[in-house]
């Protein structure tokens, strides 16, 4: 049918753009074994550099492209030198977090310099179009495809046939061996970042021109789609990235054809999960690329956890509970209440990511399940929050574990990407399952927390309830982690194969850890739902998942007190910087970068 051709063409057109993004990501992953979350930010900067060149220097397209390539290439080399090189030999999670911190900083700088308003980015390409089927393809489509295919071919040839290319592949295979053979790892890394960033910036420019639209918020979606495309193609595989991008574009386009526009991203992430399950190495990954080592675990620089004397700990807990007796300031109590709720999520993350070694970027999805379950029970069935909150936690635990279960055989980065996708899928299902969740309208009129006819609405009451929940969870988790259960989880983290050969049912232990963590995150989401009285699909977004990861790292992976400290610090930090409203996120990003650089094991040390 005619429309089928159109959907196919459209799939290729958007797939083109994903491919261009994925090529840069694949190159960096190939050599540095790193998902570069700052790639989208470089892409955004490329678009704005192009805009500035056109507006102030009136450059023609080739000159604009050259300027963007040079500036973004230099930026890439700078990123590698300043933010990533000092982290060599650290936990593999450290550079990944550094790129997240960098993306905050870069996006915020763009926004401060250019204002958040979207801008037009006109192109001076001729306005001709080729009719294909019922639609057409324009000059910009052709240019994007050419740049994508050409750069992939050039990179492939470069990796395959040049000396520097040999060096890159050698480093990708075994960094230390390459170094011993006299490869200058640093300059090769630097060159790779420069090339990948130049390509990223160029994509930003071209995509910005394609839509005649650039804005500072375009970076996160770009990273996300690029990551999906390269996982489909096979992480670190350059030609695979192109095919992955096209396949992703086609899937989305056919998804829209079958079910409608709101299902688009759902298709993208379901495709990702299917690939992770059926062929985690992607279409072109071959057998070699799966990493045996866990992402955190034994790669964490050996650190001794800071010991806190039990008496001091008891005093701290007592002080926290007594605080509302001395200050009535609701702002302080509300901020700390937010911190306690965040603490619950950080605890859940530190259990799965720190203790068990399964990095999760999907904690917000668990909060959303818990929040919606409790809210809907209370609003639609009149269940008391006393019952609905724990039930919400249980549903989050059950559903979260069931969703993550198939991913338990994945390792390292893959489990991180799978959980990221699961988080997105939960949000998209909430948006689309209108009959249950009310879709974008959200759930209104959620009753406040109450027990036996008494409503807990004052800042003090809410403070005590959330603090008590946090203390209970922390206590329980501390007991669990110090029991044989905790020892087994750490064994799974340190060496999964050794654990299995000692008779540990690895999947079962992972499931138990996820279930306990899901319950904590679910309760946190449920309590939040009753505090806010309104929820929709955006209340628990993926930024929140990233925040949870940052909190756990901040205090020290696996460290229970550390997770709570991280939550307090990261919820309180932005509040403390409130006087500098527009610079807040910038400062937060810089603090994160400095911390990763100078104290990667977290403030209290990893356990």
């Amino acid at each position: 049918m005619n429309s089928l051709i159109d959907y196919t063409v459209n799939g290729f057109v958007i797939g083109n753009i994903y491919a261009l993004l994925a090529v840069g990501l694949a190159l960096i992953f190939g050599v540095a074994n790193l998902i570069n979350f700052a790639h989208g930010s470089v892409y955004t900067i490329g678009a704005y550099v192009g805009w500035a060149a056109i507006t102030f220097l009136h450059t023609p397209l080739p000159a604009t492209m050259a300027i963007v390539v040079v500036v973004c290439g230099a930026l890439g080399a700078l990123i590698e030198r300043v933010a990533l090189r000092p982290l060599q030999g650290r936990a593999r999670i450290a550079p990944l977090l550094a790129t997240i911190g960098l993306s905050f900083v870069l996006d915020q700088i763009v926004q401060l310099v250019f204002s958040p308003d979207p801008r037009a980015l006109p192109s001076d390409l001729p306005d001709w179009r080729i009719a294909i089927g019922g639609g057409s393809v324009g000059a910009m489509d052709v240019l994007i495809a050419t740049v994508g295919v050409f750069s992939a071919a050039a990179l492939y040839a470069f990796l395959r046939f040049t000396r520097l290319g040999y060096a890159v592949r050698a480093i990708a295979q075994d960094r230390d061996a390459a170094k011993q053979m006299g490869v200058d790892v640093d300059s090769v890394n630097s060159a790779v970042f420069a090339i990948a960033s130049a390509l990223g910036g160029l994509s930003g420019l071209l995509v910005g021109m394609y839509y005649n639209h650039i804005d500072p918020a375009m970076s996160f979606q770009a990273t996300l789609k690029g990551v999906v495309a390269q996982v489909i193609g096979g992480v670190g595989n350059v030609p695979g990235a192109i095919v992955g991008g096209l396949l992703l574009g086609l899937t989305e386009s056919y998804g829209i054809a079958l079910f409608g526009t709101t299902y688009r991203n759902l298709f993208a992430f379901v495709l990702l999960i299917l690939f992770l399950l059926a062929m985690p190495n992607g279409l072109f990954g071959g057998r070699k690329s799966i990493e045996a080592e866990p992402l955190t675990g034994s790669f964490i620089a050996p650190s001794r956890a800071v010991k806190i004397p039990p008496a001091a700990l008891a005093a701290l807990i007592l002080a926290a509970f007594a605080l509302p007796l001395f200050t009535g300031a609701p702002y302080l109590l509300q901020t700390l209440t937010n911190a306690w709720l965040a603490g619950l999520v950080a605890l859940s993350l530190t259990l799965v990511a720190g203790t068990t070694g399964q990095m999760s970027f999907g904690q917000a999805g668990l909060m959303a399940i818990g929040g919606y379950a409790s809210a809907l029970l209370a609003v639609d069935w009149g269940v008391s929050p006393l019952v609905s909150v724990p039930v919400g936690g249980l549903i989050a635990a059950a559903l979260g574990t069931a969703l993550a279960y198939p991913a338990f055989r994945l390792r390292g980065h893959y489990i991180a990407i799978a959980t990221l996708a699961i988080g997105e899928i939960v949000a998209l299902v909430i948006l689309n399952w209108e009959s249950l969740t009310r879709g974008a309208m959200g759930v209104t009129g959620i009753p406040p927390l109450s027990a036996f006819g008494h409503e807990a609405v004052s800042a003090k009451a809410v403070y005590w309830i959330t603090l008590a929940a946090l203390a209970a969870f922390a206590g329980l988790q501390a007991r669990l982690v110090n029991s044989h259960f905790g020892r087994t989880l750490r064994a799974v983290r340190e060496d999964e194969i050794a654990a299995r050969s000692n008779g540990v049912d690895v999947k079962r232990y992972k499931a138990l850890a996820f279930a306990f963590a899901g319950f904590g995150a679910g309760v946190s989401g449920a309590v939040a739902a009753h505090l806010y009285s309104y929820l929709n699909n955006q209340t628990f977004d993926s930024q929140l998942s990233l925040l949870a990861v940052t909190m756990a790292i901040f205090g020290g992976m696996g460290n229970i007190l550390g997770a709570i400290l991280g939550a307090v610090a990261l919820v309180a930090l932005p509040e403390a910087f409130r006087f500098a409203a527009e610079y807040r996120i910038l400062i937060y990003g810089v603090v994160l970068l400095l911390l990763i650089r100078f104290r990667p094991q977290g403030l209290l040390g990893a356990v």
Binding site: N10, Q111, R119, N212, P216, Y331, T444
Partner: protein, 388 residues
């Protein structure tokens, strides 16, 4: 609007915001004319919605200059404290507690999205501080309690008018593309009902995510439904993206867009594709009403750019609150009671604004039919598109 101007103006705005957030300092600087009366603003200055916070400020500052030059409220200067919420519900509840606990704040304005605003409503309601949302069209927003007020144009007014315009333009079969948020979803429902009662059939209805950029496949669905017109329930940035792609895939179907696309940015971003787009707006600088002309002249003089809808509602809000405070006193309870009583406050959007004390909203927004001609919004000349 020249970019260099934007760049040079920005540090000033930042400095102002920084100065304002140290309220004791600001109070000291203005000690000569008495203690300032403070409005608390909760809104996005960073994050994905930051541009709207920036638009608000321009409207606020213009209104404040004018009010304070005329002696302020009850002889005291009026000022605002802008707390950045990123339109994030976790931050709006903290800001709400901050405002509620600060006796200097007599009324609160914002937040931007319903997600963020409604999370904080119960705190304002319980504390007895008016939460005044001026971009909150969620039908349940003001149902949060008798301290929750809004002068945002209700979609229950707006969408039937858009449907009527579509009917006046002679459309019989429409495809609707809507932003899949609470605002877009509610609007799409209201539009659908109104269109049905006018005998218009909605042949396709497609919701899209706020960060969506590619609409080509959606447009194939739209084309296959064979509408004689396409309705956009969009903001200006996404509306412009869609309009461009409608034209670039070769569809010639006429476009009717909800008033929310009304912004000079819409034309800048959509380029030639904007030409021929029909829209209606509560705010149009070319509107001959004297209150509109006065606002536009002042705005252009200060910022050297065309005001948009967000500037206008922000301006209106401060003017309205200043009138209430001036008349009923800078007291939280008095302001609530005053909102219910005050009548016929001059307004750019409404001409004269009066609240319905039951719904705590304003009815009767003015609107004009518009069409884009030669890269400019113009009043509709009555010419109907040729439909097949």
């Amino acid at each position: 609007m020249s970019p260099s101007r934007r760049l040079s103006r920005r540090p000033f705005v930042v400095a102002l915001a920084a100065a304002l957030s140290f309220s004791p300092l600001a109070a000291f600087a203005q000690a000569a004319s008495g203690d300032p009366v403070t409005i608390g603003v909760s809104g996005p200055l960073t994050g994905p919605n930051a541009q709207y916070g920036a638009q608000w400020k321009k409207g606020f500052d213009l209104a404040l200059d004018e009010i304070n030059a005329k002696g302020g409220v009850r002889g005291r200067p009026l000022q605002y404290v802008f707390e950045d919420s990123q339109a994030d519900p976790r931050q709006t509840v903290a800001i709400a507690q901050k405002f509620v606990g600060d006796p200097k704040i007599v009324v609160e304005v914002g937040d931007f999205s319903s997600t963020a605003s409604m999370a904080a409503s119960s705190i304002y309601q319980r504390a007895g501080l008016v939460q005044f949302g001026f971009t909150n069209s969620h039908p349940n927003f003001t149902k949060g309690g008798d301290y929750i007020w809004s002068n945002s144009v209700s979609q229950a007014d707006e969408q039937p008018r858009l449907a009527k315009y579509a009917a006046d333009l002679g459309f019989k079969k429409l495809a609707v593309l809507y932003l899949n948020t609470d605002w877009g979803r509610a609007s799409q429902n209201l539009f659908g009902e109104a269109a049905k009662s006018l005998g218009i059939e909605v042949v396709a209805s497609e919701g899209y995510q706020p960060d969506e950029k590619d609409f080509r496949s959606t447009l194939v669905r739209v084309r296959d439904a064979k509408p004689d017109g396409i309705v956009l329930i969009s903001y200006y940035a996404d509306g412009a993206l869609i309009s461009r792609q409608i034209r670039s895939v070769g569809l010639t179907t006429p476009i009717v867009a909800s008033g929310s696309v009304y912004s000079p940015k819409f034309i800048e971003l959509a380029g030639d594709a904007a030409n021929g787009v029909f829209s209606e707006s509560n705010f149009f600088p070319g509107d001959a009403r004297p209150e509109v002309q006065a606002f536009v002249t002042k705005f252009r003089a200060r910022y050297n750019e065309e005001p948009d809808d967000f500037n206008a509602v922000a301006y209106d809000t401060i003017v309205l609150l200043a009138a209430v405070i001036d008349r009923y006193g800078p007291d939280r309870k008095a302001i609530r009671d005053g909102l219910a009583e005050i009548k016929d406050v001059p307004s750019v959007i409404y001409g004269k604004a009066t609240f319905d004390p039951e719904t705590r909203r304003v009815a009767g927004a003015r609107a004009v039919y518009l069409v884009v001609k030669d890269g400019k919004f113009a009043l509709w000349d009555g010419v109907k598109p040729v439909t097949n």
